[in-house]
Subunit: 114 residues, 2 copies
């Protein structure tokens, strides 16, 4: 719960990149090594490792060394927090629009009966 702001910063930042979203998408299918994640991407392995580090820093993925390969898997909490932040705002503005709709309906009814 502490540092929720900085984590939201980092999480949204992490997701703001097509290559990293590609990796996340791959990892939703199950764990994968760094080279597997690199396979569809047109960049050096070193660059992919850096992307993985970004995803790990914000808690979206966890990694673990198995022999000489680094296995990556998704860790839902951070992404769910980001999703939750948007959902909370959406509830806010939807409630407001509902109230606005009610007011307009009342006004229309008052207009009809006047």
């Amino acid at each position: 719960m502490l540092d929720q702001t900085i984590d939201l910063d980092r999480t949204f930042q992490a997701l703001a990149d097509k290559s990293r979203r590609n990796m996340v998408e791959r990892l939703t299918l199950g764990p994968a090594s760094v080279t597997e994640l690199a396979e569809p991407l047109a960049m050096s392995l070193a660059a992919v490792v850096q992307h993985v580090q970004v995803l790990e820093a914000c808690g979206v993925v966890k990694t673990e060394k198995v022999g000489r390969t680094r296995m990556c898997r998704i860790e839902g909490a951070a992404m769910t927090a980001a999703e939750g932040w948007i959902a909370d705002r959406r509830r806010g503005w939807e409630a407001r629009l509902d109230r606005l709709g009610d007011i307009l309906n009342e006004a229309a009814t008052a207009e009809e009966t006047s």
Copy 2:
């Protein structure tokens, strides 16, 4: 639907900043002028305008000039798209974890009866 990728890039990028999330939060309560958005933030008005432009470029807010003030309001679609992308991935990994759970349960049952 076209350029969904570039818009996701921009939307997540827009949300990856505390000041801009602050503005979004304020706008969920209803429309506001640029100076109103600037009020809680410790930065120049010019900087706030630049943040508004970022939010507008990704479609999260719409603005309109009324006299000499620029009114801003939230425009749900872009944020809902971002929320939806995360939700889709979550459904993916949750389904996978459910299947994994089923397999483990079956294995445990088989173990018991063996």
